[in-house]
């Protein structure tokens, strides 16, 4: 398919950029692995005095964080870099150039550049996760691993859609170039178990629901503690939010006005 070819070409370009900007790659890879390690250390510190919290044991919480790094490693590699570019494009009025190309504009805004340095984080986190699963004696099965992959994919789609919808707002509010930082910080809440948010007011919990099920649900499925309702909810949300992102984006483009220099 045409978009597949395009995607492959773009990946190839990203790879060759790594070779050119080697220092950049090394620095980013170190940072992202550093953040991964930091996230694990912080959860260990936070749970040093409480062996069980929110129905999760300390081991499970640590593994949750590691698996969060697995999922986020993929997300940061393939999608996140595009959002920074998104902000720049809107801010500098370069959306015209995007719209003039015979390629779907949402595709161009979402899957155009990649920061493959985060793949290292994904790799290390995956290896570490496997190691922890073994030494913590977490009961996983082939089926649960399969569900983990399926649900993680849905999670990435959901995370992408939410961020994309919020960023589309910058077509109207062009000054909010730092919105992506806020979105990333808020969606970081997903690294904590969903149960942690359950005793907030119902209203707040409802708003946060799409975010908090992003990591918890696939991980619980992996542990074979998965809840069917959560899983269905995640898949439904992924589908719904993705559709909204598409519709909303097309709607926003009509409002886009730029002054070509």
């Amino acid at each position: 398919m045409r978009y597949l070819n395009l995607f492959i070409t773009l990946i190839k370009i990203s790879f060759s950029r790594i070779l050119i900007y080697r220092g950049n790659f090394a620095s980013h890879a170190t940072s992202s692995v550093g953040w991964g390690i930091f996230s694990v250390i912080s959860i260990m510190l936070l749970t040093s005095k409480t062996p069980v919290v929110f129905g999760w044991s300390r081991n499970e919480l640590i593994l949750l964080t590691v698996l969060m790094n697995v999922i986020f490693g993929v997300y940061r590699s393939f999608i996140d870099a595009n959002f920074w570019r998104f902000s720049q494009i809107i801010h500098y009025g370069d959306l015209d150039i995007v719209l003039l190309k015979p390629v779907d504009s949402q595709f161009q805004m979402s899957l155009w550049i990649f920061d493959l340095s985060s793949l290292l984080r994904f790799l290390f986190a995956s290896i570490f996760a496997v190691y922890l699963i073994i030494i913590f004696h977490i009961p996983v099965s082939f089926v649960s691993i399969l569900f983990f992959f399926i649900l993680s994919t849905a999670s990435i789609i959901l995370l992408y859609s939410i961020t994309f919808i919020l960023l589309t707002l910058t077509i109207w509010f062009t000054r909010l170039s730092n919105l992506i930082d806020l979105i990333n910080t808020v969606t970081n809440a997903s690294r904590y178990p969903k149960e942690m948010f359950e005793h907030l007011t119902t209203f707040v919990f409802f708003i946060l629901l799409p975010i908090v099920i992003i990591i918890s649900t696939p991980v619980k499925a992996l542990f074979q503690k998965g809840s069917l309702s959560d899983s269905i909810l995640l898949l439904a949300f992924a589908f719904v939010f993705f559709s909204i992102s598409r519709v909303f984006w097309k709607f926003a483009l009509r409002f886009y006005a730029s002054a070509s220099g």
Binding site: F38, L45, K49, R175
Partner: protein, 265 residues
Amino acid sequence: MRYFRIFFLQLQHAIEARSLSVVWFLTSLTTPLLMLIFWSGATAAAGGRIFSWSYSNFATYYLFIALASSMLTAHIEEDVAFEDINKGNLSQYILKPFPYYTSKFLLELPWRLFQGSLAISGIVIVALFFKNLVSVTSSPIILLLAIVIAILAFILSFTFKMILGLLAFWFTEISGVMNVNEIIFSIASGTLIPLEFFPNNLRTLFEILPFSYMIYYPIIAFLGKLNTTSLLQVILMQLLWIFIFSLVYKFTWAKGRKTFTAVGL
């Protein structure tokens, strides 16, 4: 007198870009809020108190973390590294008749004040509804010393961040260094977890490092957890670190200027 006018101009800019400030403020609010939610469950699971901290203690602490992050932490290093050094904007600062440090200081201050005022209003609102959460010391002497500590904390943070930004003179990939700094900072300054929770040897380390004097000590000073003697000791440490950083800054700036080349377009 002209410094005052320049400050005013920068303040106008900051107010014009107020939507950016609001977003930054909300960003610095998010992590403490998340920590609060975490601790509410954790304290419940541990029977009401962890390390003798009750949930309302945590709440107060993290509220003030939010304030300190908005108001006392300088964010000038990215501007220095990316805009001035990498993109060459430094030239216009060198041409000015006052030091680079001063220009950046006057640039940074309005943003801190603006976001700080957002945070303070937030705390005031919370204090109105949840009186027990916001228990600031009532002793005027301690309050005065706490304010001094806060001001010194800002100067400390600012000077440190300037040095960090200036490293871009030598490192083309400065973002790695900045990321590492952020990680160390969140642990050592008490932003992630109150420093009390750390084992003793780490605590001693944090007391030597400058980070705790940027966030942790101003907060617990305002919360009234230190007596006058301790407060004076804190101030002494702050002054010591400011002195060290000033020397490092002067050295870095002098050396860095020589290596700086800007290309006109």
